[in-house]
């Protein structure tokens, strides 16, 4: 079987897996919604009708198939707490989260890459040791602690009081800067050390290669060795990390940042859905983010042999 077909089939099987899990957790074992819809003191006939409408009388497999069809057609239902269609709720909140998180995400990676290059160049000398020790301290500090420290320092009268402590407004570049800076700084702080450790390990492996030694022997300067020689060779793991951490950051990062800073993005929406037991919203967020991860995995498998033909060879011989 060609690699492409095999990978596609595998991705499809993963899709069935995640949708089945989300179905079991949130629809099948989820709370019986018929009582909530019927209101107080429902009569049995009415209750029976509602249950029929919700499909509770159907067997598991056909309910799962309906669930799949709803997801595939983006028929996500209506939020139980405010009655809005879930799809429009997502369309409103996802751009907010992207605007909030993307700058910090990109800066956190870029900064880490530059620091990692410095560390790899000065391997085992003081800049490397300093960065290694610092990064271990950095990854040991909880995201929560960083958010609270930074916001207390920058957003309250206890500290510098430069930025608003809560909320979100994007009617211009200035407002965006005011509201996104502290969350972005928190995100940069928490991600830069994890990324630094990862990029440093990658670069150190490259620095041991013959082509780097040769380039150094020819007297190439650090910048051209790092950017022209080493960087293209670590591009694939770097790209993988960027792509795979994006959904995690978008969902998990926004959950904490947006609830703490009161920003109406996808994280805050999921948080509210969790506590209001808003099943349609929660179901959409869980299913769609998992589907996004699988699509990324599939794209990566499809894309990489084009970036590096050796990968296809390795897959064929596996």
């Amino acid at each position: 079987m060609p690699v492409f077909v095999r990978k596609t089939l595998y991705s499809l099987s993963l899709l069935l897996g995640v949708t089945f899990i989300s179905f079991m957790l949130m629809v099948y074992f989820g709370p019986d919604r018929s009582y909530a819809i019927a209101g107080k003191n429902p009569d049995p006939v009415q209750l029976q009708e509602i249950r029929q409408q919700l499909g509770y009388d159907q067997p598991l497999v056909s309910r799962y198939l309906v669930h799949l069809k709803d997801l595939a057609t983006l028929n996500l239902g209506f939020s139980e707490s405010n009655g809005k269609p879930v799809s429009s709720l997502l369309a409103e909140t996802i751009p907010v989260s992207l605007l909030l998180l993307l700058p910090g995400f990109l800066i956190g990676n870029l900064l880490a890459l530059i620091l990692a290059m410095t560390a790899a160049w000065y391997r085992h000398r003081w800049p490397d040791r300093l960065l290694t020790d610092l990064s271990l301290i950095g990854v040991s500090i909880s995201f929560l602690i960083i958010i609270i420290l930074l916001s207390t320092w920058l957003c309250t009268p206890q500290g510098l009081n430069l930025f608003p402590s809560r909320g979100w407004r994007v009617d211009g570049l200035g407002a965006w800067f005011m509201y996104a800076t502290v969350p972005s700084l928190s995100l940069i702080f928490v991600s830069v050390f994890f990324n630094l450790r990862f990029y440093r390990a990658l670069l150190l492996e490259e620095m041991g290669q013959d082509y780097i030694r040769t380039a150094r022997a020819f007297g190439a300067d650090p910048y051209s060795i790092m950017f022209k020689e080493a960087f293209p060779n670590i591009l694939i793991p770097v790209l993988t990390r960027l792509l795979f951490s994006l959904p995690a950051i978008l969902v998990s990062g926004s959950l904490l940042l947006e609830t703490y800073f009161g920003i109406p993005g996808i994280g805050k929406t999921s948080f509210d859905a969790i506590f209001n037991a808003d099943q349609p919203v929660l179901n959409a967020v869980v299913s769609l983010s998992a589907i996004l991860v699988i699509i990324i995995t599939w794209l990566v498998d499809f894309l990489y042999p084009r970036l590096d033909p050796r990968i296809n060879l390795r897959l064929e011989t596996q």
Binding site: S13, F29, L136, S252, L256, I274, I291
Partner: protein
């Protein structure tokens, strides 16, 4: 080259100071001192709100006049317990899955386990916890359960890779030739050789569990019947704005010490066992 536990302890090519161990012992000593100190009950509400450091309250009191030292001690044990439970359950689950998958690489048990890891890894962790908490409302162990069923996948992948690497070696072939059973080979020959990966991964899970527990209980998804660092930090967000830092610092410093010491231990384990890091 193969490393067993013994070579792991004695191999000292890279001079790693046992700083992590010392800090961890420091953490345990803090806990013992707190346990030995006559503190009020952690739930006891008193009229002394935001009391400073005193003999009666070595770390002061919170907004409800509760003793912070007593709460910090209780929360530390809670955190350690969750860390250990999740690490052991999830770690061993991952180990068995990895052993089964690696030993049967390319056959159906491997396919199923790989599919399971792929599926679990596709669902963002915090949302999965939320979904589990939603499905099993009221069940007190839902957070631990969610961590256990998500944290095993990396362990399984790494152990699988180790088994595949080791089983191609000659001594496994000889063990097979003399008629040892699969189980005996896995137990006596493969597992000891995979021990470094196993130990590193156990501590990685421990760190992940402690960190996740703090964030989940901060968000209100944890076990609300007891006190935890996440709940203390959650209480303290209001106090910090008013300039009362004792609650926040007690919880976050203890959390940092524990995570940092285990991270140091993990790192030195990794440097000692990864040949590439030592030599190249």
């Amino acid at each position: 080259m193969s490393f067993g536990l013994k070579s792991l302890m004695t191999r000292d090519k890279v001079p790693v100071p046992p700083l992590g161990g010392l800090i961890f012992i420091g953490f345990v000593i803090i806990l013992i001192i707190l346990a030995a100190y006559p503190l009020p009950d952690w739930q006891l509400v008193s009229s002394e709100q935001f009391a400073g450091i005193s003999q009666q309250h070595p770390l002061g009191t919170n907004a409800l006049g509760q003793d912070i030292a007593a709460r910090a001690e209780k929360a530390s044990w809670h955190s350690l317990r969750i860390g250990l439970i999740v690490t052991l359950c999830s770690g061993f689950l991952g180990m068995f899955m990895g052993l089964i998958a690696g030993w049967n690489a390319g056959r159906w048990p491997d396919g199923i386990i790989l599919w399971l890891t792929g599926t679990m890894e596709a669902i963002p962790f915090y949302l999965f916890v939320a979904a589990v908490a939603y499905a099993f409302r009221g069940l007190s162990g839902s957070m631990e359960l969610a961590m256990i069923v998500t944290f095993w996948t990396t362990m399984a992948r790494l152990i699988r890779a180790e088994v595949i690497r080791i089983k191609q070696r000659d001594f496994i072939l000889s063990a097979r030739t003399i008629g040892l059973s699969s189980f005996a080979i896995l137990r006596a020959h493969i597992l000891p050789n995979a021990l470094p990966v196993l130990l590193v991964q156990f501590s990685v899970i421990f760190i992940a569990a402690i960190k996740a527990e703090v964030i989940l209980s901060f968000l209100g998804l944890g076990n609300s019947s007891t006190i935890s660092w996440g709940l203390m930090i959650s209480e303290s967000t209001q106090e910090v704005i008013a300039g009362h830092y004792l609650n926040f610092f007690s919880a976050s410093v203890l959390l940092f010490i524990l995570i940092y010491s285990v991270s140091l231990i993990t790192d030195s384990l990794q440097t000692r066992t990864d040949p590439r890091q030592g030599v190249a």
